[in-house]
Amino acid sequence: MLPVNSIAMQAHEQQASPESVLEVHGLTKEFVIGRWGRKRIVRAVSDFSLTLRRREVVALVGESGSGKTTVARVIGRLYAPTAGTIRINGEAVPAKMNRRELLAFRRKVQMIFQDPYASLNPLHSVGYTISRPLRIHNLAQGDDLKARVREILERCELKPADLFINKLPHELSGGQRQRVGIARALAVGPELILADEPTSMLDVSIRLDIMNLMLDLKDEEGISYLFITHDLAGAHYMADRIAIMYASYLVELGPSDDVINEPLHPYTELLKSAAPKPESGLKPEEISTNYDIPDLTNLPPGCPFAPRCPLAEPKCKVVVPPLLEVKPGHYTRCILHHNI
């Protein structure tokens, strides 16, 4: 097995899939918190690299605060990256964009937000919300605009569209709101949608509806998703590949079934054992209960998971291991697996 570092990996992947929609490489994002004199740096994302193919869904799973949202927001250009490059359709996204470039970028990359109650402006009607992107990007005018809005709403199962077009968010149920959120993202015909926990605030019975809608759109419109969730089962349901994050690092990446069935990283293992899975027997396995939330302003040297890892060895605490391909298409950031 070849030990490749992340740069090599990216080169490798790029060759393997010329159809990549998104290539992220070495992405790092730091926040400065505090004011005057007591500034600290939070490294929310460290050396994150990932390639997304057309019509592919990659799920990003990790514990709270591990940096998932930040990844999506940096890619979606809500935050400027501290380091690293992002390519869309093979073209590098410049660090500074003028309005035209930015609009072009936004046409390709859209987002769906976690909280359907907060992501719609309470004062704007559904019709307004959907029509804005169309107008901004000059995709439709006048009657055409109305027709397009209707079409998009119906596409998202908000039927009859005329009923919904004038509604305000507070008149909609949670599931309907999230559909409006999806419709808004869909309006400009994007190639990539960054979905940040789009189902976690929804009622259980409705979650599947939304996931199914997203899957349908993927197939029909040729959209790729970066699907962020903390629900491993949901990730398994949605995604072709799963990426696991821990304390700002991508620690495992591989095809869904591989990651679920044969997890490589001890953290993935832990996640799996903690997730409810009645289908594999009603008595859950015991998990270790000692844990500490990693402090992103002050990570210990070495593998960030080492303090919690049952398998940790002294060498784990020396350097952060690289993300290496251990099996075909299955990467992990764990030294224990890097040794042959």
């Binding site: 505090g34 004011r35 005057w36 004199g37 007591r38």
Partner: protein, 327 residues
């Protein structure tokens, strides 16, 4: 500790800004104090006195504004604010020393009483929400809060002091008594009741409403519901849990409002001929008494700032989150 340092930083900056404004403002005023003084005598002084006054006031030296600014700072640091022109040749410090204690006493007591009473009423009206009495308190408080200070003072003066004769008409204590020190206290209280009560009445409502709103918000907070669930007695929840948290925003408001209260009390003082800063400021302004004006404004600003600083410290004492630099 960090919090402390930051507050100090803010204190210093604000003090600098206040002091600089304080320096600049009088210099933008037209006229010359000697002229003003002369004119005040309405012909009883000879016009030649102008040069005597100019000399006496030390106005005849030409200095650049910047140099004056530097001097001004020197004076602040040495605590020497120079000589007052209206009370020439008294030192500004002495003039202030006579009046400042009165204002501090009046405003301090009034604010503390208004704050305590208002806060208690606020707690009551929030806790007993939907009862007729508690709800009726709201419009009443709003009304009192909208009354002009000085107008209420006048009404009280005429009603309680002049027509009913329950309280003295003017001054801070009985000038004919030979008592000094603590023996003077009853007289001071007797003279203070009216000015104090007008300030209390007009300020009370604000505190009550703030506290009421905070209290209502806090009541819906989970820890209050949890305290109920824990089976704590109602009183304990009301004070130790709800009020304890609800008072925090009031405290911020408290420090911010001191400026208002002092401002308002100036008018009250004038109406009751109370020996505080109010009239002195008015007089200093109208007679272009720069040194006095500057010192008063400086004093009020610093007073407010320091009070601010202390309330901030109290806030930090009461709210551990602030102390740890969160929020």
């Amino acid at each position: 500790m960090r919090y402390f340092v930051r507050r100090i930083g803010f204190l210093l900056f604000t003090a600098w800004a206040a002091l600089t404004i304080n320096f600049i403002l009088p210099h933008m005023m037209p006229g010359n104090p000697a002229q003003v003084m002369l004119a005040k005598f309405q012909g009883r002084l000879s016009p030649q006195a102008l040069s005597a006054l100019t000399e006496a006031f030390g106005l005849n030296m030409d200095k650049s504004l910047f140099m004056q600014y530097i001097d001004y700072w020197k004076r602040i640091f040495t605590g020497d604010f120079g000589i007052s022109l209206t009370y020439y040749p008294s030192r500004v410090i002495d003039v202030l020393a006579e009046s400042v204690p009165w204002t501090i006493g009046l405003v301090g007591c009034a604010t503390i009483i208004a704050f305590t009473l208002g806060t208690l009423l606020g707690i009551f009206s929030a806790w007993r929400r939907n009862s007729a009495l508690a709800d009726a308190l709201v419009p009443v408080a709003l009304f009192f809060n909208s009354i002009p200070y000085f107008w209420l003072s006048l009404l009280f003066l005429y009603l309680f002091a002049y027509y009913l004769g329950w309280f003295p008409l003017a001054g801070g204590y009985n000038i004919y008594t030979m008592a000094t020190g603590f023996a003077l206290l009853p007289s001071i209280i007797h003279h203070g009741v009216l000015p104090l009560s007008t300030i209390v009445i007009t300020a009370l409502g604000g505190w009550m409403l703030t506290m009421r709103n905070n209290m209502i918000s806090v009541r819906a907070d989970d820890y209050v519901a949890f305290a109920h669930a824990k089976g704590l007695p109602d009183r304990e929840i009301k004070y130790r849990y709800a009020a304890r948290n609800a008072i925090l925003p009031s405290i911020t408001g408290f420090s911010m409002s001191l400026g208002f209260v002092i401002g308002g009390s100036l008018l009250t003082e004038v109406v009751f001929s109370y020996p505080g800063l109010g009239y002195i400021l008015y007089q200093a302004v109208t007679s272009l008494d720069y040194p006095l004006m500057q010192a008063i404004f400086l004093f009020i600003s610093l007073g407010v700032l320091i009070a601010n600083f202390f309330t901030d410290m109290i806030y930090a004492l009461l709210d551990p989150r602030v102390r740890d630099g969160g929020v």
